[in-house]
C-alpha cells in the first residue's frame, strides 16, 4: 500500500490554514443535512458543494481524489445493488421492483453525498491537526497520545509491510494459495515484532529527550475564522432552504 492519497492531499492543501474545528463543523453539517433532508435535491447539492470545495479552493489534485474514492465506491455499488434486488415471496430468484429501486436510489445518493462531505474534511485536514483539536476539546490526553503515536507508527509499519511484501513477491511468495498463506503469516509476524521493537526503541529515544510521562508539544496555530464559519452557515442554510422549497 502506498501512502494514502487523502493524507498526501491533506498535508498539501491550502485549506490547512483553517482551524480543524471549522472544517469539522462544515463537513459534519453537510453530512447531516444530506442524511436528514429528502435525497433530492439535498444530496445533489451537498455532493456538488463538497466536491466543488475539494477541487476548487481545497486544490486537491483530481487524480488523488479519484484514488481516494475507489475504496468506498466498491462498497456503495455492492450495497446499492443488494438493496435494489429483492426476493419475491412467490416464485424464486431475485427481482427488481420500483419500490426497491427507489430505496436503492435514495441510499445511493445519501452515501455519495455523505462520502463526499467526509472527503472534504479528510482531504484538507492532516490527522495531527485533528488530534491537537481533539486534545483542546477535552478528549483525554492518553487517548490522543496513543492516537498520535498510532498515526506516526502506521507509516513506519506500512513502509516495512510493503518492502517485505515486495521481497516475498520477488521470491515467488504469492504464486500459490499455500505460499500466500505462508507469506502472509510471515509478514504479519514480522510486522508485529517490528511494531514492538519500534515502541521499545522510541521509548528510549524519548526518555533521552526528557519524556517523563507527559507528551506535550507546541504545534500549528490555526484559529477559527469568522468568515469561514459564516460561509459554512450560509451553505448549510442554502441546502436546507432549497431542499424544503422543492419538497
Amino acid at each position: 500500500m502506498s501512502a494514502p492519497a487523502l493524507d498526501t492531499a491533506a498535508w498539501a492543501s491550502p485549506w490547512r490554514r483553517y482551524s480543524p474545528g471549522d472544517k469539522v463543523l462544515l463537513s459534519l453539517g453537510l453530512v447531516i443535512s444530506a442524511l436528514v433532508l429528502p435525497p433530492w435535491p439535498a444530496s445533489g447539492l451537498v455532493t456538488a458543494i463538497a466536491l466543488g470545495l475539494i477541487l476548487g479552493p481545497g486544490r486537491v489534485p483530481p487524480h488523488l481524489l479519484l484514488r481516494a474514492a475507489r475504496g468506498p465506491a466498491a462498497f456503495i455499488v455492492l450495497g446499492t445493488v443488494s438493496i435494489a434486488i429483492t426476493w419475491r415471496t412467490s416464485g424464486f430468484g431475485p427481482t427488481v421492483t420500483s419500490e426497491s429501486l427507489t430505496a436503492a436510489a435514495s441510499t445511493l445518493s445519501h452515501a455519495v453525498a455523505g462520502t463526499s462531505a467526509v472527503l472534504l474534511l479528510a482531504a484538507t485536514t492532516p490527522m495531527t491537526d485533528l488530534l491537537s483539536w481533539a486534545r483542546r476539546r477535552g478528549v483525554p490526553e492518553a487517548v490522543v497520545d496513543v492516537a498520535g503515536l498510532t498515526y506516526r507508527l502506521l507509516f513506519v509499519l506500512l513502509e516495512s509491510v510493503s518492502a517485505v511484501r515486495s521481497a516475498q513477491t520477488a521470491r515467488l511468495g504469492y504464486t500459490s494459495r499455500r505460499a500466500t498463506l505462508r507469506s502472509a503469516s510471515g509478514l504479519a509476524a514480522a510486522t508485529l515484532t517490528r511494531a514492538f521493537d519500534r515502541a521499545r526503541r522510541l521509548e528510549t529515544g524519548l526518555a533521552g529527550r526528557g519524556f517523563e510521562g507527559v507528551m506535550r508539544t507546541v504545534g500549528e496555530q490555526q484559529s477559527s475564522s469568522r468568515s469561514f464559519e459564516l460561509w459554512t452557515f450560509a451553505s448549510l442554510a442554502l441546502v436546507v432552504a432549497v431542499s424544503l422549497g422543492v419538497a
Binding site: F75, T86, G114, M127, A142, A188, L206
Partner: protein
C-alpha cells in the same frame, strides 16, 4: 466490510453510536489508567494501534483469486484484550475513514460496534472457552480469529438489514440477503484468517516468546 458514510439512516447511526459508546468509553478508561500507571505504555499501545491498521493491508488467499484482507480483530483481541481493542479499534476505524475513506463518521459507531466490540469479544470469548474446556492453544487461536471474523460480518449484515428492510421479505429477508452475499466470500476468508492466526503465533512463539509472555500468553 466498513459501512460507508451516508449508508445508515440518522436514527440507526445514532442508535449504534449509543450502543458502542459505553464500550469505547470503558476502553478509553482502561487506556487512561494503563498510561497513568506506566507512562511508557502509550508507545506500546500506539504500536499496537498501528499494527491493527496495517494488518488490513496484508493479503490473504481467497477463493475468488482476488485479494482479501484479514479483519485482524481476533488477533488484536487475543493479544491486547477486548476492552483495549474497543478503544484502539475505534481509533483505527476513524483513521480508516479519514485516511482511506473506508467507513464514515456517522457510521463510525456502527462499524465500531461490529469490528471493535463484537468481533474482539466473540474472538476472545472463543479463545477463553477453548482453553477452559482443555482444547489446545492452537485450536483457541484458530477459533478466536475465524469466529471474530464471522461475528463481525454477521453484525454488519444485521446492521444493514435493519437499515434497509426488503420491501417483500422485510428485515429478516434483507438480513438474509446481506448474509447470503457476504457468506460466499466470508466463510472461506474466516477459515483463512484462522489459519493465518495459527501460523502467526507459531512464528511469534519462536521469535518473540518474551513479548508473548509479557502480554500474558
Amino acid at each position: 466490510m466498513h459501512i460507508a458514510e451516508g449508508y445508515l439512516p440518522p436514527l440507526h447511526a445514532a442508535a449504534w453510536t449509543l450502543a458502542a459508546a459505553p464500550f469505547v468509553v470503558h476502553g478509553a478508561r482502561c487506556v487512561v489508567r494503563e498510561v497513568r500507571e506506566r507512562p511508557e505504555s502509550r508507545l506500546l499501545l500506539g504500536a499496537a494501534g498501528a499494527f491493527t491498521f496495517v494488518l488490513s493491508a496484508i493479503k490473504l488467499p481467497s477463493v475468488t483469486g482476488s485479494s482479501s484482507h484479514p479483519t485482524g480483530t481476533g488477533l488484536g483481541a487475543v493479544l491486547f484484550r477486548p476492552p483495549v481493542m474497543a478503544m484502539l479499534g475505534t481509533i483505527v476505524l476513524l483513521f480508516q475513514a479519514l485516511l482511506l475513506a473506508h467507513g464514515g463518521l456517522t457510521t463510525l459507531g456502527a462499524n465500531a460496534f461490529s469490528m471493535a466490540i463484537v468481533g474482539p469479544w466473540v474472538g476472545y470469548g472463543a479463545y477463553r472457552a477453548c482453553s477452559a474446556v482443555g482444547l489446545s492453544f492452537w485450536v483457541g487461536v484458530f477459533a478466536a480469529l475465524s469466529l471474530s471474523d464471522l461475528a463481525t460480518y454477521v453484525v454488519t449484515s444485521v446492521q444493514l438489514g435493519l437499515a434497509h428492510p426488503d420491501p417483500t421479505g422485510g428485515v429478516l429477508g434483507s438480513i438474509g440477503e446481506f448474509l447470503g452475499i457476504f457468506a460466499l466470500t466470508q466463510i472461506p476468508l474466516a477459515v483463512a484468517e484462522g489459519l493465518l492466526g495459527v501460523l502467526v503465533f507459531r512464528i511469534l512463539a519462536r521469535i518473540a516468546p518474551e513479548e508473548l509472555r509479557s502480554l500474558g500468553l
